[in-house]
């Protein structure tokens, strides 16, 4: 019997109640929100429950919404996959923009180790309990978190590219 989304929803509702919300089907992926405090237990439950069996972490990444209210400015997105039933789900956990913190899941999925480091590198999201939370792609000396919307794409210190020729100034003269 195929795993129905309603089944997932009921199970989660039964155990976590208010902490899991906003269930909806986005194209082919069933998606819901989880409060940041319960993320570890929800994922552990999804992984170990004999019916749900979401045993594979496909992806983990962050998104920045600077225009949201303060405690919903960052979101960590988890994609889980159940290979037995071939079912994908997406979990979102919103966290505060002032002090972005969330518990690590690197003790549940080994693969999340570097993905969390990457998210930290890009957004400065602190994964509490991560064994080695330091920058992975950028240099250790870097102080900005480049994927946050307020940081520009280009390096401001570069000298060889004239912004006027790239249509990047408001008044081209």
């Amino acid at each position: 019997m195929a795993l129905e989304t309603i089944q997932i929803q009921e199970k989660l509702n039964q155990i976590f109640g208010e902490n899991v919300s906003n269930y909806n089907q986005e194209k082919d992926i069933f998606s819901f929100e989880v409060t940041a405090d319960t993320i570890t237990s929800v994922i552990l439950f999804l992984k170990n429950d004999p019916e749900l069996r979401f045993h594979f972490l496909t992806d983990l990444c962050g998104v920045h919404y600077p225009d949201n209210e303060v405690n919903r400015q960052f979101v960590v997105v988890y994609h889980l996959h159940n290979w037995y039933e071939n079912k994908r789900i997406k979990i979102k956990a919103f966290i505060s923009g002032e002090n972005p913190q969330i518990n690590t899941i690197s003790n549940i999925f080994l693969s999340s180790n570097w993905m969390e480091r990457e998210t930290f590198d890009f957004y400065g999201i602190d994964f509490i309990g991560h064994p080695q939370l330091k920058r992975i792609l950028n240099m250790d000396e870097m102080i900005s978190f480049p994927m946050r919307k307020e940081f520009p794409m280009e390096d401001s210190g570069r000298t060889d590219k004239d912004d006027r020729f790239f249509g990047r100034t408001t008044d081209n003269y």
Partner: protein
């Protein structure tokens, strides 16, 4: 000696001090990379070694971090394909097509059957090209240069087919929303036929050179073995996972671009060692060839090469000059005035190295709000330190080679 290489507070320095071998030898540190020739890319590993045996490895990556995801947030959708090209540059068409399919899923566009089959053909060609590189370089790393020289000629043949299709060799930037930018020329099909006729014999010979080769077997069997459980925990996908015996393949699990129409098997290994990974890739090349033949046989009549979606597909240039409607569409597409829904999409394809996923968040504007690439290399490379623990230094090179870690994909 070791104080020169590492600061004394480093964890290796402490271990070297503590460990006393009976014969008076001491542990040493070896810096492998970032420009080591045998790593085919730039990764650094600081190895703690006891003689020739690796005790521990500390990987550093990010040496060609190019900020793809940041660029993608600042460019219109159709300017993201050149970025995907440069991710896994050994098999760019798969990345291109994966990106277009993500957009098609977002915009609910149905691609005509013929265009889907053409996509399948080019994706399978890309897979062959990818596996040619991986397997022949694995040969070079075990000391067999001949295989590399021999099969690389056929990579050139694949490049020539790409050139007929899109004009570029390596970074193809192929396809558009809804299909291809132009129909395939008869020359492309002719070159494809020649390739299909000539390549199998060469690949068979390549296989014969390695599969029962004593030296090759000695160098690869039981080297870098990883169990299926461990591989799944580390997020392995693609040929590396199948080498461990798990038959997960996105083409079968979530068929895209009409893969369900074709009859192919998913080759799996058993022990997950370097030899199995090599054999899985070898077998996949045969499957890819069979898929290409099936696609050519089943190719629907006609000359549909793109979906009829004037909102997103650029009209032919002649029409832009002569018809009002085309001019308006052209203008709208180029200026980015196309309707894009606010949505979140995840689309996976089976890339050369595993599940290549595109997680796209849109806000209705002409650029992506957030685009995250699920890069298979990045995820499975974290298992490398564990895989080489206890192995010889020369094995570490072979294991890295058999994992086929592409630096561009690793660092994005």
């Amino acid at each position: 000696m070791s104080e020169l290489l590492l600061p004394p507070e480093h964890r290796y320095a402490k271990r070297i001090k503590e460990q006393q071998n009976e014969d008076g030898s001491e542990l040493s540190i070896l810096n492998l990379g970032p420009t080591h020739p045998a790593t085919h890319g730039i990764f650094q590993n600081i190895l703690l070694m006891d003689g020739e045996r690796i005790l521990e490895a500390e990987p550093t990556i990010g040496y060609i971090h190019r900020a793809f995801e940041k660029i993608a947030e600042n460019r219109p959708f159709y300017q993201v394909t050149p970025l995907t090209d440069r991710m896994n540059y050994c098999s760019s068409p798969i990345n291109n097509m994966g990106w277009w399919m993500t957009l098609e899923k977002l915009l609910d566009i149905e691609v005509p059957k013929r265009a889907q089959y053409l996509r399948v053909i080019v994706m399978e060609l890309a897979r062959i090209a990818d596996h040619i590189i991986c397997n022949s370089i694995l040969g070079v790393d075990t000391g067999a240069y001949t295989g590399f020289l021999y099969v690389f000629q056929f990579r050139e043949k694949i490049y020539e087919i790409y050139e007929e299709i899109c004009g570029a060799r390596l970074t193809t930037n192929m396809g558009r929303i809804g299909g291809f930018e132009r129909d395939w020329s008869p020359e492309a099909f002719k070159k494809l036929d020649i390739f299909l006729a000539e390549f199998p014999a060469a690949w068979q010979e390549f296989e014969n050179l390695f599969v029962r080769n004593r030296i090759f077997i000695d160098r690869t069997v039981n080297v870098g073995a990883i169990s299926a459980e461990k591989a799944m925990a580390y997020g392995f996908t693609g040929p590396n996972l199948r080498g461990s015996g798990v038959d997960y393949d996105v083409r079968v699990a979530q068929p895209y671009s009409s893969y369900e129409d074709f009859d192919f098997i998913v080759p799996v290994g058993k022990s997950g060692d370097t030899y199995d990974r090599f054999c899985v890739r070898n077998a996949e090349v045969w499957e890819s060839l069979s898929i290409i033949r099936q696609a050519l046989d089943k190719m629907p009549e006609g000359n549909d090469f793109h979906a009829d979606v004037p909102d997103y597909y650029l009209p032919p240039k002649e029409d832009v000059y002569t018809s009002m409607e085309s001019l308006i569409y052209h203008f709208k597409i180029v200026m980015g005035e196309v309707p894009v829904p606010v949505a979140e999409i995840y689309h996976p394809v089976e890339g050369g190295n595993g599940e290549l996923g595109f997680y796209l968040v849109t806000d209705g504007s002409r650029t992506a709000y957030r685009l995250h690439f699920r890069r298979p290399c990045f995820i499975y490379y974290q298992a490398y330190p564990e895989m080489i623990k206890g192995a010889l230094l020369s094995d570490a090179i072979v294991i890295l080679s058999s994992l086929n870690v592409i630096a561009g994909e690793l660092d994005a």
